[in-house]
Each structure stands twice: as structure tokens, then as C-alpha cells.
């Protein structure tokens, strides 16, 4: 607070208040409960209480066949279901030693990048809403709707899409897919400019986000943060580059990084990422190869015994699948490495000494999805 003449903080200093934020709270983005120890409005310490959405997805995985389990991963990070599906399918493919044919990989890349844009749009809208700007959320949903329409046309579902199958794709792209994607891309950049016009140079937005929730690069690495949270701290690391999957080695794109690791930097990083995703989609849509859309992997999947860890750059960060096979039709152990779960762990460190209003901003900037945190 510094020299702020706020009476509340100085007088309340006498005793600490425990404030339960959530599990029902407008800006905890789901059923997250943060127990805040407050000195006035200043956060002394905090504790995240999670698990309200725990469904035992990993246990379920052990009792389903590989193909049966695929729809379940859509329900972890339910705002980026396509990305989850990609991670899972590729992990099982790696376990089988199979590889999706090029056309499938291209389509997967396009859809995943669209999903990244959709996820970031949802983040932007809710984050701005948390900080009090209520209009961007509607603009964001307008664009997200376009993406969801493409998903719907492609596979019939909008949210939990189950778009990909192990070994490739189930569906060929629909007629007009490319036109739809191109049309979306054509409008999209100017729309991003529109959001930035509302926020990036806005004095209040800058005051609310700059210097708030700083995470240094060393801390980010030590705490296992990944995705935009890590890049916002200035670590130039993207799994799409480090371990290219799908067709990412074919496209040019930049990895935006921040400098100070504050909320504003993470905001800028995600905004840039949307632009980069747009760039990837445009490159991919122009170069989709023709050919088969699925590898031959047989109907009954019995991966040879062994184990695999495969991770992708999901919109929220490193989404990993660790699957152990015992040679049967069901995974022996299926572990999901959830980016939100690991990123959320940084929250306490980031909000100490800040105000309640900043807690909201920091939760928003971490971009968590409770379905994924709790699984």
C-alpha cells in the first residue's frame, strides 16, 4: 500500500481476517477455494483448497480401453478439449509406435491452434471481467463462437469435441472447412487489435496489471510453471519448438516472451500467442497435404508393454500424458500432467503482500481450469 491513506489497512492491522474466497465466488473460475489470511485488504498468506471437481479421471482410465478413454480427456480442460485430445492421441500413438499421416497432422495442428485461440479468448474475456472491464468478454465470445462453429461443423460438438482419434482422424474435413478457417483468420487480427485498443494502452489496465503478481524466471522454473506463465517470466520455451509434435516443425512462428513476469507481461504474451496461432493456422491451411487421414493401427489397441510420457503445449502450459501399458487393452496407469494444477501452485507465492483485487487479477492471469486442476 505504501503511503496510501487508506484507513482500513492501518486500523485492521490489529487482527488478521480469514477470508474464504470461493468455492462459490465470481472470479475463482470454477470451484476453487482460496483461503486468504488478510491484514486489512492485504494478503498475508493464502492456501488453495482444491478437489471439489475431482472425478478420478486417472482411475477411470485404468478401467477403459485406450479408445474408450479418449473422450474423458476432453473433460479435464474443458475449454481446450481439442488440445487435450491431441495430447492423449499422440501419447497413445507413441506408445503403439504409430504415427498419424501428414494430412491428419495438419488438420490436428489447425484445430489445435484454433482451440488455443479460443482458450485464450476465454481467458482474455474472463480476465478482463475480473479486472472490471465487462465489455471484452462479449467480444471474445463473439470470436470464440466462430471457432466453435468450425468445431461443430467438423465433428458435431462444440465444447468437448473428441475431435481426434488414436492414429489420426475419424472424419475428413467437411466441404468448406478451409474457407471457414480462412474467413475466421481474415477477420481475426483486426479483432485482436480491437481488444488491445480497449486494454493494452488503457491507463487503468496498466495500473492494475503492471507489477502485479511478479514471477521471476528462476521461480517460474523452480515451481514448474509452464506455458504463457513461464514465457511471461521471460523463459523462451515452447514444447512446439522444443519437442515438435503434430506438424509444428513445418511452420514458422515466434515464441513471445515477457520481461518482468508480471500480469501485464503474461497478458501481452497471450495476446501475441493468439497472433502467432493465427499465423500458424494460415500457413497450415494453405499447405494441407492430401492423403489418408488415419494410420493403420487395428481395431483393438494392445500397445506393447512399456511406458510413455508425451506432452504438448496446451493453451495453459505443458499438458503431459504418462501412460504405462502392460500389453493389455487398457492402460495400466494413466497419468495426466495438468498444467493448471502445477501453475496454480504458484498462486500463493505471487499474491503475498498484494491486495484482494490483485488476487483476482492473479488468478485470472494464471488461466486455470478447475476441471483440469482436480481431474
Amino acid at each position: 500500500m505504501g503511503q496510501t491513506p487508506s484507513v482500513s489497512t492501518t486500523i485492521l492491522g490489529a487482527d488478521e481476517v480469514i477470508l474464504n474466497m470461493g468455492p462459490q465466488h465470481p472470479s475463482t473460475h470454477g470451484v476453487l477455494r482460496v483461503k486468504l489470511k488478510l491484514d486489512g485488504e492485504k494478503v498475508i498468506s493464502s492456501e488453495c483448497i482444491i478437489g471439489y471437481l475431482h472425478r478420478g479421471v486417472e482411475k477411470i482410465g485404468e478401467t477403459r480401453t485406450y479408445a474408450q478413454f479418449a473422450p474423458y480427456v476432453d473433460r479435464t480442460d474443458y475449454v481446450a478439449a481439442v488440445s487435450n485430445g491431441l495430447g492423449y492421441c499422440e501419447a497413445v500413438e507413441k506408445l503403439l509406435g504409430a504415427e498419424a499421416p501428414p494430412r491428419a497432422r495438419w488438420v490436428r495442428t489447425i484445430l489445435t491452434e484454433l482451440q488455443r485461440i479460443a482458450s485464450h479468448l476465454l481467458w482474455l474475456g474472463t480476465h478482463a471481467l475480473d479486472i472490471g472491464a465487462m465489455t471484452p468478454v462479449f467480444y471474445c465470445f463473439r470470436e470464440r463462437e466462430e471457432i466453435l462453429k468450425i468445431f461443430e461443423k467438423y465433428c458435431g460438438a462444440r465444447l468437448t469435441t473428441h475431435a481426434f482419434r488414436i492414429g489420426g482422424l475419424l472424419y475428413e474435413t467437411y466441404d468448406g472447412f478451409e474457407e471457414d478457417v480462412k474467413k475466421f483468420c481474415h477477420d481475426f487480427l483486426s479483432r485482436v487489435d480491437e481488444y488491445e485498443e480497449l486494454l493494452t494502452e488503457n491507463r487503468i489496465w496498466i495500473q492494475r496489471t503492471r507489477g502485479v503478481g511478479i514471477l521471476t524466471a528462476d521461480d517460474a522454473i523452480a515451481m514448474g510453471a509452464s506455458g504463457p506463465v513461464l514465457r511471461g517470466s521471460g523463459v523462451k520455451w515452447d514444447i512446439r519448438r522444443a519437442f515438435p509434435y503434430a506438424a509444428y516443425d513445418q511452420f514458422e512462428f515466434d515464441i513471445p516472451v515477457g520481461e518482468n513476469g508480471d500480469t501485464y507481461d503474461r497478458y501481452l504474451v497471450r495476446m501475441q500467442e493468439m497472433r502467432q496461432s493465427h499465423r500458424i493456422v494460415l500457413q497450415a491451411i494453405d499447405s494441407i497435404p492430401s492423403g489418408p487421414i488415419a494410420a493403420r493401427i487395428g481395431k483393438v489397441l494392445k500397445p506393447p508393454p512399456g511406458e510413455v510420457y508425451h506432452s504438448i503445449e496446451a493453451p495453459k502450459g505443458e499438458l503431459g500424458y504418462y501412460i504405462v501399458s502392460d500389453g493389455s487393452t487398457q492402460p495400466y496407469r494413466l497419468r495426466i500432467r495438468p498444467p493448471s494444477f502445477v501453475n496454480l501452485q504458484v498462486l500463493d507465492q505471487m499474491i503475498r503482500g498484494l491486495l484482494i483485487a490483485d488476487v483476482v487479477a492473479v488468478i485470472g492471469t494464471l488461466d486455470i481450469v478447475l476441471g483440469e486442476v482436480d481431474r
Binding site: P5, V7, S8, T10, I11, A14
Partner: protein, 167 residues
């Protein structure tokens, strides 16, 4: 009784009753509310006396300012403890005695001054807007005391800020 007399007595009774309630209420917030009521009825009595400026200032300063700050502070202290404490234990008799003395004094003086305390019948219309009168009084006749008082308050304010900053 005229309309004005009726309102006066009603206001006076309200003011007195709520004043008593201020000190008898156990809950400080309730006390504060009754204090607001007291101040409000006094403000209305000012209004009746065609002292609009005084009435308005009474409301702005006492209710809008001081009472809000009172409530602000009351809310911050631990109420449960305050309610459980019985602060009047020892002083009850002394206070009662002091009150009696004061009452006797007042009665005496009011009785003595019953003649000259009578006001001349008020003019039907205020001769001059009393805001201007007050302004002239403060800034012309009593400019020195006024400025001294404001300086004093300024010193107090600076001191308070300084003390708060040191914490």
C-alpha cells in the same frame, strides 16, 4: 398548539430519547445509530429556527462526516469483546452524582435567567440569508480567531498524519 410547536416537541422528545438510548445501548453500532437520530432531530430544530445553514452543516459535518467515521472505527474493533465488557461498573455512583449536580446547576441557571432568556418574537421572514451573516461574521468580524482555529486544526491534522505514518 401550532403546527410548529407540535413538530418542535416531537423533535425534542425524539432527540432526548435517542440521546438516552445512545448511552444505554449495549451495541455500539446501535448507539451510533441513535446518535445519528439525535443529531438529525437537532438539525431539524435548527431548521425550524430558520437557521438553515446550521442545519445543513450539522448534517454534513456530524452525520455525514463524524458519524460515518465513528461507525467506520466501531466496525473495525472487535465488537463481541466490547459488548461483553461492562464499562460503567465503578463509575456508576460518581456519574450519577455528577449528573445530579449538573441538573441542579442547570435548573438554577434556567430559573434565574427565565426573564432575559425569553427571545423576542422571531421575524416572520429572515431579514438576510443567514449564510451570508455567518460568512461575514467568520471572515470579517472574527477573522483572527477563525484563522487561529483553522491553523490549530491544520497542526492537529499534520500531527495525526505524522503519527499514522510512523506506525
Amino acid at each position: 398548539m401550532t403546527f410548529y410547536e407540535v413538530t418542535f416537541y416531537v423533535l425534542a422528545v425524539v432527540a432526548l430519547l435517542s440521546a438516552i438510548l445512545v448511552i444505554t445501548c449495549r451495541n455500539p453500532v446501535h448507539s451510533a445509530i441513535f446518535l445519528v437520530l439525535t443529531l438529525l432531530s437537532v438539525a431539524l430544530i435548527f431548521l425550524q429556527l430558520q437557521a438553515e445553514f446550521m442545519a445543513a452543516v450539522q448534517i454534513i459535518v456530524y452525520i455525514g462526516g463524524i458519524m460515518v467515521l465513528f461507525l467506520f472505527v466501531i466496525m473495525l474493533v472487535n465488537l463481541d469483546v466490547a459488548v461483553r465488557q461492562a464499562p460503567y461498573n465503578r463509575q456508576r455512583w460518581i456519574a450519577g452524582f455528577a449528573a445530579l449536580v449538573l441538573l441542579a446547576e442547570f435548573t438554577l441557571f434556567i430559573y434565574q435567567g427565565r426573564d432575559w432568556a425569553k427571545l423576542p418574537p422571531a421575524a416572520a421572514e429572515a431579514v438576510q440569508p443567514n449564510t451570508e451573516l455567518i460568512g461575514r461574521a467568520l471572515f470579517q468580524n472574527y477573522i483572527l480567531p477563525f484563522e487561529v482555529a483553522s491553523l490549530l486544526l491544520l497542526v492537529a491534522m499534520v500531527g495525526a498524519v505524522l503519527m499514522a505514518k510512523q506506525r
